[in-house]
């Protein structure tokens, strides 16, 4: 990817850069899982859109497979491209905090996306999904649609702050509903792991009324396991994020998938567009922009379906 970054850099330098052009650097994690794939798609799509719309804006996009690589990417952007703004989705908060702070100190406009840095006040603009809302919206749906004494199982993501915030909010929303959570195991946002965990839940519990899979990849694995066990009529599954295959099934009124909670990878597009606005319009764009977690239902599913996106 460094090679690609260098190639892009040289290629872009070779083209006559219009005088006074502003350059926006974008650093995001590589497409190693479905959600990150969507992130990459929406980043590239919005760069293409903005480059056409504003010929004066230049973009450098780098994808990193680990935090160290991301730090080098950002250093390269500052050293070789002299970027005017940086849009960064930190791989991990801690290791990226100091490098991004250095970029901000040099006067560059910094937009942080999704995962916050471990120190406040570094970034000019913060764009993120609502993890607490993500858990709460799902929890409220369970509380409203299940009876007192209903039994559910939960598939958690990779052990992380994101996962903890979601699960805490989910539990808080369930409080007082009388719903019994039978088990909470980690499906690691992975289809295969979730398939296995769900198979074992099914062997372990004779009665399950609903599953909170907390992610659409995990929901996909869980659905296969439930189908295999022949218990499809017994329970429904709520995933999360808004993967297009899942959205399509909700749109088509699949009984096992009543709703989904959004956590859109397209938030990177929001961040890039807002950052571009700083250079192309007088509109103020500093502050915090939290993208709500919404409930996808059969009625509104169509507007959450992106045909070309890989996610």
């Amino acid at each position: 990817m460094t090679i690609r970054a260098i190639l892009t850099t040289t290629a872009l330098l070779a083209l006559a850069v219009p005088a006074g052009a502003e350059t926006i650097g974008i650093s995001i994690p590589a497409a190693t899982h479905g959600w990150a794939g969507g992130l990459n798609y929406h980043a590239q799509a919005s760069v293409a859109r903005l480059e056409e719309q504003f010929p004066d804006l230049d973009f450098v996009l780098a994808t990193a497979s680990d935090p160290a690589k991301q730090v080098s990417d950002i250093e390269d952007m500052v050293a070789t491209r002299n970027i005017d703004a940086l849009v960064v989705l930190p791989f991990e908060s801690e290791p990226l905090t100091a490098p991004v702070a250095r970029v901000a100190d040099s006067g560059t406009f910094v937009t942080v996306v999704d995962r916050g840095l471990s120190q406040d006040g570094i970034e000019d603009l913060y764009v993120a999904g609502d993890n607490v809302g993500f858990g709460r919206v799902a929890g409220e749906y369970f509380a409203e649609n299940l009876e007192d004494g209903a039994k559910i199982v939960v598939l958690r993501g990779i052990a992380s702050t994101v996962d903890n915030e979601r699960v805490e909010a989910f539990n808080a929303a369930l409080e007082g509903s009388g719903i019994e959570v039978l088990g909470m195991e980690h499906g690691n946002w992975n289809r295969d792991t979730s398939f296995t965990v769900m198979q074992d839940y099914l062997s372990r519990f004779p009665e399950i009324d609903a599953v909170w899979a907390a992610d659409d990849d995990m929901a996909t694995g869980a659905l296969q396991a439930i189908e295999q066990a022949g218990r499809s009529d017994e329970m429904w599954v709520v995933g999360g994020a808004g993967m297009k295959e899942i959205v399509a099934r909700i749109r088509d009124n699949d009984k096992m998938l009543p709703v989904d909670v959004t956590y859109p990878p397209a938030m990177i597009a929001t961040a890039i567009e807002l950052t571009a606005m700083r250079f192309t319009s007088p509109a103020p764009v500093t502050g915090r922009f939290i993208i709500g977690s919404e409930l996808i239902t059969p009625d509104n599913a169509e507007s959450y379906y992106f045909e070309d996106s890989p996610f």
Binding site: A31, G34, G37, R191, D192, R204, P310
Partner: protein, 332 residues
């Protein structure tokens, strides 16, 4: 020479302990499972665990030959993901021309096996003809296949056409006499592997090369050809495992097959094969695979430990199994 002789006599008594070690660990695990959950020994649960262990199991049998002959292959997990991706793309592309049916699936399976074979052959050629260490070659191809699948899937997930998955599904979920296909294929591969390792010239040559390559060469063993064959065999078995894997979820992504190589290697070593080569035990590998499969299952069936500690429990049991297998720490 005398030292060699005395050392030879000692292991003969320990052979039993060696062999019993992993089996004992498996039995203990099964007893723990029974005590903790009533459903543990149910037909459904046992079938689930055996079927899901089949992928790693089929690969681990091939890995036993590679490790016995003193080699190593780190690329199998990524290769499986890549093979799965190629199979899905091929079948989706052929669907409009060939129509929905068994034909497309058969071509897909053939493509999967061939892709595995070529993957293994590339590793083998670079190691034997290119004279590069197996660790480095397969570390390289591991990264290459992982990137290729990410690129093929455009960072997302490759999904098999929905109707086609319906046709292909029985290969994972179906079976005969209540035994599902992945379990049957795993059993056949394991029995075949055991026979080849014990009763054929190829098996003996693998052990000879792993034990001392120079001596093997002077004993007229075609070292290059045998070594090459182990990687090709492993490649084909990766293909077989993937053929069983694809119908399960009908999809492949960058997250497919992650760490399968380490699970396969761990199973081989737990089973009594020496990591430095020279001795291989295929049935031991099967026991190793089952141990790994049941650990995960038991941890999911109980709330005894925090799920954060699952990895630690697995680590402890892997090390314990090997300690048992080596006949205890007192052996040295």
């Amino acid at each position: 020479m005398t030292t060699v002789d005395t050392r030879k006599a000692a292991p003969r008594r320990r052979v039993n302990l060696h062999a019993i070690g992993p089996l004992a660990a498996l039995v203990v695990l099964l007893l723990i499972g029974m005590a903790l959950n009533d459903n543990f020994l149910s037909y459904g649960n046992l079938t689930n665990v055996l079927a899901r262990s089949a992928f790693i199991g089929i690969i681990a049998v091939g890995m036993t030959f590679v490790i016995t002959s003193g080699g190593l292959d780190l690329s199998v997990g990524s290769m499986a993901a890549f093979v799965a991706g190629v199979m899905i793309l091929t079948m989706n592309a052929l669907l409009p021309t060939m129509g929905l049916g068994v034909g497309v699936i058969l071509v897909g399976i053939l493509v999967g096996l061939l892709t595995g074979l070529f993957g293994g052959a590339i590793n083998g050629l670079l190691i034997t003809r290119g004279r590069i260490e197996a660790f480095i070659v397969t570390l390289g191809t591991m990264g290459i296949y992982r990137s290729l699948i990410t690129w093929l899937a455009d960072g997302g997930t490759l999904s098999l056409n929905y109707e086609l998955s319906g046709v292909y599904r029985p290969v994972y979920y179906g079976g005969i006499l209540g035994i599902s296909w992945p379990i049957l294929v795993f059993a056949l591969v394991a029995i075949g592997g055991e026979i080849v390792m014990r009763h054929t010239r190829f098996g003996r040559h693998c052990a000879a090369i792993g034990s001392n390559e120079q001596v093997a060469k002077y004993s007229a063993v075609n070292v290059m050809r045998v070594r090459m064959a182990t990687y090709v065999l492993l490649g084909i078995l990766v293909g077989v495992a993937t053929v069983m894997y694809v119908p399960r979820l009908g999809s492949a992504s960058a997250a497919t097959g992650v760490l399968w190589e380490l699970e396969a290697i761990a199973a081989v070593i737990i089973g009594g094969t020496m990591l430095k080569g020279g001795f291989g035990r295929v049935w031991g590998t099967v026991v190793g695979v089952l141990i790994l499969g049941f650990i995960g299952n038991i941890l999911n069936l109980t709330d005894l430990v925090s799920p954060y500690l699952n990895g630690a429990i697995q680590g402890v049991i892997i090390i314990l199994a090997v300690v048992l297998q080596r006949g205890g720490l007192k052996a040295h």
